[in-house]
Symmetry: C2
Subunit: 357 residues, 2 copies
């Protein structure tokens, strides 16, 4: 293994001392970059883009050429598994993802094959291998998947209806069917993430975008339980290196403590969470990642600087913080404000030397 | 004043002893009722329905004929003020509310007149007067408005885009303009609610549906501040009767304490909030209203009964709880499950006699 040139994000996720707070950005490879829009225009549809390792690799690396980020995240989508299950996924411009064959019955569920899905998903491993070779450990590469609940929302609902009423109704009407869907996705996701780790992913993140739609009593049973099962099922080391695991449920500020206790190394926080309060709530058991309001990047470079400063000061001087947005960067975000954000993390993120000794 | 036949909701909102937990349901007058759909079919568009006091009155009373609710809420909409400001509001089937002339500049804002808007809004007062006369204090009548932030979201965005990115962007790009919009809405809403109280509204509720989209640092400044100003600006008594004030911000479980300290009598909680934790968080300073998952009403009467039982037991035996959903009832909710909910509140909501003495 070549020596890592920059592994401060891994250290921070494992709450080891770092020289300065690491930073990356959810959806950092994406539409706010003109070079990404140019690359994206080379293929007609989004899934073809994901399925072409050369394009996924180039998209993954693009933000690193512009910004001093401490991690790369493989260009992919949480819905690759839905596509691989053969449910006829289509990304419709403006409308977003549509699943033409949603799964709403045991009989529909029984036709699905985890094995076939994993075979189809090998393009993600290929993209990771290619990216990993190109990166040469310049920064660690993050692999990811959607949480079973979040992927189930799309798989059952059929479309990105922001309240996911069909899925949330199934929870109360046919909980056994919903659990069967979640179980299948959990098993598939464990294999999927292990393949990503084998291919070179050095950090794993689970995106639970829609867990916050659940209630305080259903979230532990229908989302966190399966995230925990994935954490227990995947390889947590590779070539003797620890693979940090990040859990991110959006709108779960009330449940941070139970998430922190579910077997992850770090908890992602969204922009509604005050990082100082989150720190007090969960103690120093896990690291925190987040949580600048993505909309704050529509301000001025100076307002961005102050917002970054506040979060870093609120977190304090200890390790265990990865600076990030509280959600994906918005597609029309001015690039100079992303630069201002990274510069401010460098300006205010320095740790006291005492922390390093 | 005739004696109220049932004022236990007022007592509970003021944390006075009650015989049993009062119950009503957000959007209890609405599309899940076949008799409402029939009434609604009499006029072509939604705003005409709102503007016809006889229809609004009948819709308000319909759920009381079916269910043993402890309150009526005037049939209206939080966007009446947007319509009255002349911004060309249209309720487009499937798409929801569209504001054809959104306000995104100081010059657009300056053309608006609070006085003209209040004149146009008199149909709401008329509906309240008519309903109040017909109700004869059988149960108290709730008047309401949207919070300035939530109304501004529609007024600025122009459409119900669930992330309200234009509005949230304005917050960072042109905060002074957003504050000017919020200030105008605050002033208008104070007059609007005072007129509702004068017409017979006995409880006032502020709906802040989109406050939870704000960050921990922007919510106090851009939403709660203006809700507090409304609480300070409106009449809190009428004919020597106290008018309880309820603040409800959806997805604000992290901020319940600051909401409780903002001058309301009761805080509405959504379904993501554990009511026992909320009680501990805010102490006994204000009452709580909520927070059954509206989707729980898609279960069976028995599962509904157990969910209701859990919330009532979690809250405990003290006064200061109004049972409700954590959000509006969904339009396809089975009516028998609403009956099961009310029956369960009666079954498990009884207070120990010691509380009454």
């Amino acid at each position: 293994m070549p020596t890592k040139k920059n592994n401060r994000i891994i250290k921070a996720l494992l709450r080891q001392p770092v020289d300065t707070t690491p930073v990356w950005m959810m959806r950092q490879a994406g539409r706010y970059l003109p070079e990404f829009r140019q690359l994206r225009a080379q293929v007609p549809d989004f899934m073809t883009f994901c399925k072409t390792p050369e394009l996924a690799c180039e998209a993954t690396l693009q933000p690193l050429n512009r910004f001093d980020f401490d991690a790369a995240i493989i260009f992919s989508d949480i819905l690759t598994v839905v596509d691989a299950l053969g449910l006829n996924l289509e990304f419709v411009p403006a409308a977003g993802p549509v699943v033409h064959n949603p799964v709403r019955s045991f009989s529909a569920l029984q036709t699905l094959s985890i094995e076939r899905a994993l075979e189809k998903l090998q393009y993600v491993d290929e993209a990771i291998r290619l990216t990993s070779r190109t990166l040469q450990h310049r920064v660690p590469l993050i692999g990811f998947a959607g949480s079973p609940w979040t992927v189930a929302c799309y798989m059952i609902e059929g479309q990105n209806e922001h309240q996911f009423q069909i899925t949330r109704t199934m929870l109360y009407r046919e909980p056994a069917l919903l659990h069967a869907v979640l179980k299948l996705l959990t098993e598939l996701t464990i294999h999927y993430l292990n393949a990503q780790i084998a291919a070179g992913a050095e950090i794993i993140m689970l995106f639970d975008t829609w867990g916050g739609l659940l209630s305080s009593s259903t979230y532990p049973e229908f989302s966190l339980y399966y995230m925990k099962a994935i954490g227990e099922g995947i390889q947590r080391t590779h070539h003797a290196e620890k693979i940090p695991l990040i859990f991110f449920t959006k709108n779960a500020g009330l449940w941070l403590k139970s998430i922190a206790n579910a077997g992850c190394d770090a908890v992602g926080i969204d922009w509604t969470v005050d990082i100082a309060k989150a720190r007090r709530m969960i103690g120093a058991t896990v690291a925190l990642q987040g949580g600048l309001d993505p909309m704050a990047l529509y301000g001025t470079p100076q307002s961005v600087r102050l917002a970054v400063k506040k979060i870093l000061q609120d977190f304090g001087d200890s390790s265990g913080h990865v600076f990030n947005l509280g959600h994906g960067v918005d597609k029309e975000t001015p690039i100079e404000n992303v630069s201002a954000m990274v510069a401010a993390v460098r300006e205010f993120g320095k740790k006291n030397e005492s922390v390093l000794t």
